[in-house]
Symmetry: C4
Subunit: 123 residues, 4 copies
């Protein structure tokens, strides 16, 4: 299969609620970057986080193997530091091979969960 | 009418919950690729699924007749194999004529359904 | 102000639930094409609907005045015929001047409403 | 880091419900333009609002500092005048440096909140 996608993706809306309802981990409030690597090479990805009132943090390094998808929860990022909860952020995702990125959030702060998604901005 | 669209579409976010609430089939948790074929020819479409930790599966073959729309539920795909539930996936949708693809999910795991949609990524 | 947008827009996902909950008209289940005309001329718009198993219907004619927005409910289309409820459809929106189109649905079939939106596909 | 984005963004769907449920300010019904400025210069942004039946209002002036994100609630705009509630609107967002804009709404009119998001239209 041909390799599809772009090397740079941006999600301007980021916010992980600090609490949720329902069985974990499915109903933990979470924010996800769904990444698809259709290429025949491993994707070496660097994520930089931007905030309202402090300097950017990163890079967070993520690997997505050839011809695999990874639905990356921002909640799981640990290095260089966890993503702060209840805090506005945005991110730039840069890869060494073309990938496709879609942004999703499940918000379970109230009894019934809410969902949002969009294909990210790319260049 | 002019023919609109592109021949390749990608949805990076895929996940079909294994359960739901409410009357079926409207409130069965489902994931849909809404496909529009404005051309005057039958669209012969091949879908390939990508996973986190196994090789891609496909092609799934789908026909959308000339000047028709098909709201394809991934739940209904059977050949070469059903789409696994509660499992992250992504997909590449390739057509022999231009089409337009929009991705929608209805999640009815909790008492009140949640919805998401986005125009898919295209090349 | 400069004129922004494109002349052709496509929404592949269309479905108006036949019932809803909550005070009307805000909580009537509805599907909307939000149209913005930034130009200094009246936008003369034609909408064609596509279905799963019958020929396209249209054009539905809509006017959006210069420098105005119109949040058009598909529920309100009457001529040549109302949009059938509980039925999959898709649409092509063609304008004589550039416009921007965003697709939104409010689904109030259950006690708590659900929302979806996406910028439409354009050419 | 390279500067990413475009200088003009459009959100065709705008509507701020006049009431909500749940603890404020998180669960106040609100509409947000999430703006990311990856450049090394301050972004000077002008927002113009469009309505159904009156002339455009603006510009609203907003600053997003270099390498910062701002999740701007339309509810908070005050000058030249507050955004009317329960009223359809649309907006054009123009910046002197490239930015990325994503549109989100939290609707808390009913007991359980609903969410929508999309990357805005750009030129």
């Amino acid at each position: 299969m041909k390799t599809y996608g772009k090397k740079t993706w941006i999600i301007a809306e980021g916010y992980i609620p600090s609490y949720g309802n329902g069985p974990e981990p499915e109903f933990t409030s979470h924010e996800t970057a769904c990444i698809l690597n259709t290429s025949s090479s491993k994707a070496e990805i660097e994520i930089t986080l931007f905030f309202t009132d402090k300097d950017p943090v990163g890079p967070y390094k993520v690997i997505v193997d050839a011809q695999r998808t990874k639905h990356l929860r921002f909640n799981d990022l640990r290095n260089p530091e966890p993503v702060p909860l209840d805090t506005d952020y945005a991110c730039v995702i840069e890869s060494n091979v073309p990938i496709v990125v879609q942004h999703t959030r499940l918000d379970s702060r109230q009894a019934e969960n809410a969902l949002l998604t969009t294909i990210a901005y790319f260049e």
